[in-house]
Symmetry: C2
């Protein structure tokens, strides 16, 4: 089974669960915590415990949802670890999606100035994206991941069987990062995934592996996002702003749904400012719209979306930095479109 080496830890994909048990067994942890939400407790914990037999652990439970990814929930996690006698030689296993991984990792890194943690991502999104690169954190004052650190886990354990209990909308959301990885780095993979017209009954293991390797190759060169790593933000500049603008609406978008819009609009800007040609733009747009619905209503408040752009962490001195496609499979960063080009890209999306 494939093991992908990232800096000082490994990402295991569909590996033998006995190896998981051996890995932690050899390390003599003083305490082991398993962080879950009500969904992963129900759907993933039984499978996890069947894999890692005879584990003595403390269950730490939080409520699911991006709305819980805040300091209050961190305090619950820290308190639970404190009450159960955790120390800096303890381990936290984060069993869940991006919220669990990002927040659990942040809590582990900051508890007594840092204890070990393992990521066991259980959604497609977190398996292909959040599991690699060490970005951890929580939301603050409506800004996503405003408070956090960059630090690697000691292991990432991906099992695509966890995806079996996911709703199809969640699968579709995670798939956006797979599309992105192909678009920014691997034109051949792009041609291959375009053949996928239906996300059911897919054998995810090999696709996850390819996607994780792309991200790993980028991140090992530039973990702190001084340069190259910024290409991973393709689709995320407008995507994040649109996601954030609609976060509290009843018809809010999942992360990958917003990134789908972000990839179309940022491909449009790429066409306007860089060498991406019209046909490539149409190719991208058509494929994404064959997988995701069209969401024109989520772009109504253009002014708010533009304001959110300016508050993005990726900015420098008030200019909005975009990562844009030079062609299929090649991405560049630190491009600063003017406001009218950004507005045109949103208008274009709305009239598709």
């Amino acid at each position: 089974m494939p093991t992908i080496k990232c800096d000082n830890y490994n990402v295991h994909i569909n590996d033998d669960w006995n190896n998981f048990g051996e890995f932690i067994g050899s390390r003599e942890y003083s305490k082991i915590g398993v962080l879950v939400d009500e969904n992963t407790k129900l759907h993933c914990l039984p499978k996890f415990l069947a894999g890692v037999k005879e584990l003595e652990y403390v269950l730490i439970e939080i409520t699911s949802g991006e709305q819980q990814k805040n300091l209050e929930t961190c305090q619950h996690i820290w308190n639970t670890m404190l009450d159960n006698g955790f120390d800096r030689h303890s381990l936290l296993i984060n069993l869940g999606g991006g919220v669990i991984g990002d927040m659990g990792g942040f809590c582990a890194c900051t508890f007594m100035r840092g204890m070990d943690f393992i990521q066991v991502p259980t959604t497609l999104l977190s398996q292909v994206d959040a599991s690699v690169g060490g970005k951890l954190g929580i939301d603050f004052q409506d800004y996503k991941n405003l408070i956090g650190v960059i630090q690697n886990p000691i292991m990432v354990w991906i099992d695509d069987h966890f995806l079996e209990t996911l709703e199809s909308r969640q699968i579709r959301s995670g798939y956006a990062e797979i599309i992105k990885h192909a678009l920014i780095q691997d034109a051949e993979m792009w041609e291959e995934i375009k053949e996928i017209t239906n996300l059911e009954n897919i054998e995810w293991g090999p696709i996850i592996e390819r996607s994780v390797k792309i991200k790993r190759d980028v991140v090992v060169q530039d973990q702190r996002e001084g340069g190259l790593r910024k290409i991973l933000n393709f689709g995320h500049t407008l995507g994040h702003a649109i996601e954030s603008e609609n976060l509290h609406q009843p018809d809010f978008l999942l992360h990958g749904e917003a990134i789908g819009i972000g990839m179309i609009t940022e491909a449009y800007i790429s066409k306007e400012l860089l060498d991406l040609c019209e046909e490539e733009y149409i190719d991208i747009k058509n494929y994404i719209l064959s997988i995701y619905p069209h969401y024109p209503n989520h772009l109504v408040n253009e002014k708010n979306i533009l304001e959110k752009l300016l508050k993005d962490k990726k900015n420098r001195r008030g200019l909005v930095n975009f990562s844009l496609l030079k062609k299929l499979g090649e991405c560049t960063f630190d491009v600063k479109p003017n406001e009218s080009t950004i507005i045109k890209s949103l208008e274009d999306y709305k009239t598709l």
Copy 2:
């Protein structure tokens, strides 16, 4: 003027302030914040601004005191940075004692997953201790520094003129770490500082330099406290427990005052369990008692102090780890005295 190299940054001691201005001027920060409390705003900020001329900065003010070193104050700092358009290319300058440095550093490291910070320690304690080693954090649920990270600043700037406005009790508190550095690593320095019988009118620069170098030499070998760094905890195992037990009393102890008790009691345990001889113990005890008052009343609640010991971050599997002296100028770590020896050390102190 001496510049001490620590890993990837320098500690400047009594350096020309023009060098400070040049250092930050060359880095094109999007925003610069200066974190102060009401005391350093009054006593240190004017001197700082006279040194770093024409600085455009945002003043971030917090209330002084260990009681403020918590998540609520962090939120105030993060909010102020957010409201003023700080981003990950901004700089935070922490102008103050240990609370300002530890908390400001933690806030900077976690804001947008990390921005630069400079430590400008203004108390003797923070100049000789907190300025080197990268330990950052806040208190949580009555436990000191329970939440935090280890990360280095981009520069430490020590100016002993800041000490002129300090109360003598604060100077005495910081001096405890100087005594500790001599006791654990430098017998010659111990003989020299024993000549100091009055802490007024001291030329602090050279003493700070020597003390910082000792700490630097330890920390560069073991930043994450896997082994050697633990020797810096001499006096701090019982010292922290005693400080913490009396934190909410009207006659609470300053950090160094508690560490003074910790060094006497842990020297007693060193004598009982290791090769430290009776004369050396008496030498340590007499010198510390010539500088600090005798505080028997602060050791009355022995049971609480023992309980606090067990919750110390330094522990592993419920055993209390002490760093103890083998002789003057030499320290070892991971010694686990039994409870009766610990109690004897407290009883001995009370009857001095």
